[in-house]
Symmetry: C2
Subunit: 235 residues, 2 copies
């Protein structure tokens, strides 16, 4: 590996200008967000069908629709940047699909938990990323989150379910651990495969990059544990 | 059966006032619409996942979201009438669910066809019903349809699929016949079970009611055949 000074931009794709790299980084960032939201919409709306009550179905349906609206906003932003949303999403299909295939909920409560856990982890992740973006892009990313009270709705519903049937706790605790494990595994896969996402940490050397990723993942895990504790579950 | 003059209102629920009957008729009409739209949203968005291309997924996703928005508008209208949307939907769960359970698409093209066929039949049905409603309610019902170019999008996509693979034609023709058969069977079940929907044809006697239902069903079948012909399929 060539020596770099800590201030030299990391340029994994060769001699591209920092602007080119940043643009490709945005394509990847919004590509993975868009595909994540499109997939969440499809899974959430189909799982909604198994809700115990009509009320739950309509509430989950509304949350799913919000995911689709976010997908549309992110797609529109890609187009404003002159990028093709489908092309931007494509590289992330295998890892996002793998995550969903490996975390098929056994029932409605597991499905509720899945959306609660993954929604919160992606929010934390995008919040961490936003700190490294230009102000305009950062405000778009953060704006999507502010418009999204999904977490609160899901947390309240999970708390109610756990109060109604305390036996759910051990199963959901186990399920939560599996979800966070799979989510971080797939996130790591994405970061490894898409060198350009290294643009996230431009101006750092390889070693520091790896340390930062480790720190980010540790922070995501800690936030996850705090959420599980709030539900009275062992993380 | 007691004799009625043709102008005497049909009052299957006893001595209720015509206003009460009409109100209960609206609860049923919007209840079945709302539940149909909520179910279509869930099925369509989950089937979208199996689309051959990302573009198809996003197009079907957008159509599914429109179904959810219609569901929300119809629910809001029920609430304006002082009615509980969940209570209004509940009686129609068994027949709508039975329809979907009996028409599980084997692949994405069958799923596309299913939404094309059922969307068009419900549009025709609601259009026929609208002619018998007070002007305000009629304009709500017709307004939902005008806002909905779903049929055109689905028809164009089916035409393209049939052009790409002409072998699809015989399978989709068979599937179309099964869909229309199941749709009309379940619609008949609803009309039989929910006497209040007879309010649809207030001011008629039992015999005329049955004739009108037969005529309506014949008209729905004819329109279906015309649509199949437009796709080059034998109805």
């Amino acid at each position: 590996m060539t020596e770099r000074t800590p201030t030299e931009p990391l340029s994994p794709l060769g001699a591209d200008s920092p602007a080119d790299i940043y643009r490709r980084f945005l394509a990847d960032l919004f590509g993975v967000m868009a595909y994540g939201e499109l997939s969440a919409f499809e899974r959430m709306s189909s799982d909604a069908r198994f809700s115990p009550t009509l009320h739950d179905r309509t509430v989950l349906g509304a949350l799913a629709v919000r995911e689709y609206e976010h997908f549309e906003r992110v797609s529109a932003h890609l187009q404003e940047l002159g990028l093709d949303p489908e092309e931007a999403m494509r590289p992330f299909q295998p890892s996002v699909d793998a995550f969903h295939d490996r975390t098929k909920p056994a029932d409605w409560f597991e499905s509720l938990m899945k959306f609660y856990v993954t929604d919160a982890i992606s929010d934390d992740f995008y919040q961490a990323v936003a700190a490294r973006l230009d102000p305009e892009t950062a405000s778009l990313v953060l704006g999507l989150q502010e418009a999204e009270p999904t977490g609160g709705v899901l947390e309240a519903r999970l708390q109610q379910a756990l109060a109604d049937d305390p036996r759910l706790a051990s199963r959901l605790a186990l399920w939560g651990r599996r979800l966070v494990g799979e989510a971080l595994t797939q996130a790591q896969r994405v970061l490894l495969e898409r060198a350009v996402l290294g643009g996230l940490l431009q101006g750092t050397v390889q070693g520091i990059y790896e340390d930062e990723v480790k720190m980010l993942f540790a922070a995501l895990t800690r936030s996850h544990s705090r959420r599980m504790n709030r539900l009275g579950l062992t993380a």
